[in-house]
Symmetry: C2
Subunit: 367 residues, 2 copies
């Protein structure tokens, strides 16, 4: 038997107790970057600071010839190019995106994959055109169930060769605010953010926001491709079929105050009164409360909330801190309008998804 592509690919595993980050995890961390936490300063994250998770390689697509196909269970399959998409009605939404694996490397035991800490997030103004209008034009036929989005990035993952594909239930795909986006912050998409086209599904974790979009395919059944049926599921163990990862759980992040130590990133903060600020979001609804701790969760204090910047963008918050000399551990937890409250420690799951446990910002408070 010859050499096969599967030889490039290993099985999923959990890190052993005390096992440091592996060379493979480091390779992923070097390419897929988080948002430096000081960028919580910005309402809209500048280019290059927004988090990035790319399963395979960033593909190169020629914008002048690229087309998007709408096919599958539709009456009139469509193929549209960039000029046609740009000619359709525009929508712009300010959307906070977070990787479903955010917080994974903080779990015990640690699922071995992209080793995110707390900051795989970013907020951008995405401009594009309505997906529902395109699907309406193609004429979704009766019996439609899921819509599958195919990206041009190609690779192998846990032995399965694939173009990156994710399915959405038809009702989500037909939401008014789901767009095929061609601009980010008023500029054409950058290569790493999906140029020339990507999907934006406000409220959902990043795995739904398919980049380098080539095909939109309507199915008469639930999509059973790798990224829906195997990868992005909340499971208790490897045998558990689990449930799909969907919307972002509520989370608040603290913008680290003072200045950092280079290696430990521990913050040095001057004693006295200062304002601690941050952002909070939820994919289920508006953030209605943020509480802050400066003693690692021993006591909690209500934060002042900033203005709402739309249904799917993070919300600023601030808290007046009277810092006494010594050690402090800052964190914050968000509550949304559906009553979901961010836990101090999230429930463990096999894939390390949706870990919205409270951040821990180590501080040394000096006179």
């Amino acid at each position: 038997m010859g050499t096969t592509a599967r030889e490039a690919s290993g099985a999923a595993r959990l890190a052993a107790p005390g096992e440091g980050i592996s060379a493979e995890e480091l390779q992923l961390a070097a390419r897929n970057h988080a948002m430096p936490l000081e960028a919580l300063r910005y309402d809209v994250t500048p280019a290059g600071l927004h988090y990035l998770l790319i399963h395979f390689d960033i593909p190169y697509l020629d914008e002048s010839t690229h087309t998007l196909s709408i096919d599958g269970l539709v009456r009139r399959p469509l193929s549209v190019d960039l000029a046609q998409l740009r000619g359709r009605p525009r929508q712009t939404h300010r959307v906070t995106l977070e990787c479903a694996g955010n917080g994974r490397a903080l779990l015990q035991p640690r699922p071995v994959s992209q080793p995110w800490l707390s900051e795989a997030v970013g907020t951008a103004e995405w401009t594009g055109t309505s997906l529902a209008a395109l699907l309406d034009e193609a004429g979704v036929a009766p019996g439609a169930h899921d819509v599958v989005f195919t990206g041009a990035d190609h690779g192998i993952e846990r032995g399965v060769e694939q173009d990156y594909q994710r399915g959405l239930p038809l009702a989500e795909a037909m939401r008014e605010d789901v767009i095929v986006a061609y601009e980010m912050n008023g500029q054409p998409l950058l290569p790493q953010h999906g140029a020339p086209l990507r999907l934006i599904v406000p409220g959902w974790y990043g795995m739904a926001q398919v980049k380098w979009l080539t095909n939109v395919t309507v199915l008469d059944r639930e999509f059973d491709g790798y990224q829906n049926a195997v990868a992005y599921r909340l499971r208790g163990d490897a045998e558990d079929p689990g449930v799909p990862v969907t919307r972002m759980q509520p989370r608040a992040l603290v913008r680290p105050p003072g200045f950092p130590d280079f290696m430990s990133r521990t913050r040095v903060v001057k004693a006295g009164v200062s304002t601690v600020e941050g952002r909070a979001w939820s994919g289920f609804g508006a953030v209605t409360a943020v509480e802050v701790t400066a003693d690692g969760g021993g006591s909690w204090h209500p934060a002042q909330l900033g203005p709402v910047a739309g249904p799917y963008a993070w919300r600023g918050w601030s808290w007046r801190w009277e810092a006494a000399p010594g050690r402090a551990v800052l964190g914050a937890r968000a509550t949304d309008e559906t009553g979901r409250v961010q836990p101090v420690q999230a429930e463990w799951n096999r894939g390390g998804f949706a870990n919205n446990g409270v951040q821990q910002v180590e501080c040394v408070v000096v006179d």
Copy 2:
């Protein structure tokens, strides 16, 4: 005695044999990202794909009020704002920048710091105005020795609180092609690349390219600040005073062919003839040869060189590969016009600097 800032900061150390990447190293890898290797496709690296190393936090500077001071051993200290700098003669240079710590995490034993693999590099078109002309206007006084560049990023490193500062010998600072840059690829600098002003010293490693530039100070002696006297030095051990890190050693990188496995990044490549491409650079002079290996260094083959894009930009190269089914390990090594040849394995040093050992791109070649 009260709490002091030094409590946030630990001593430099080497990783123990077999020690995985630590949580502290991972924190740095999550913020300071490398260039995804597929971006070797681009002559000029798109925004957000260029490598990034930030010692402390990205500071926020108000472009409308920011000024640059030229002071120290000069006859007429100057303070110039952005509008004045933009009004001076412009220069644009295509420059490849590489972090001095590139390759650190591949060393045995591993110095514990920013854990770079092979790809802390990027090439941009930097636009700004001559530093020498500014120094001439200020009138460098007799006895000048070093010029110190101060950035606005502030923190503590190995117990030393500091603004990031690096000194250059006067002769380097007076080179015609050293600029105070305010644009990258035709756009105002991004926050993470030094907005609104940074230094560009073509040919030198990244530590010389001071970002968020606030002061240019002429000294009558060698600068003995932390980043010159302690951090960026090639030392055999912690007691060795060592020599300063200066220009980039020659290095070639392979653009990984085929497609990757998600976790291992091992490449899957189709057997047969294909073209392997990459880039090569040296801070000492033009690249004059690149050799390629497909058997992990067992045999070497001359690559075809692409056009020269200026004295300080990487040079493209290509090689015709007849890939047979099985395992292959690709790598490339560069030679420059000064006769410097990239080693298969670089000499170890305590800080993990200038590791230009040959890259290893693991491939599975399939029928």
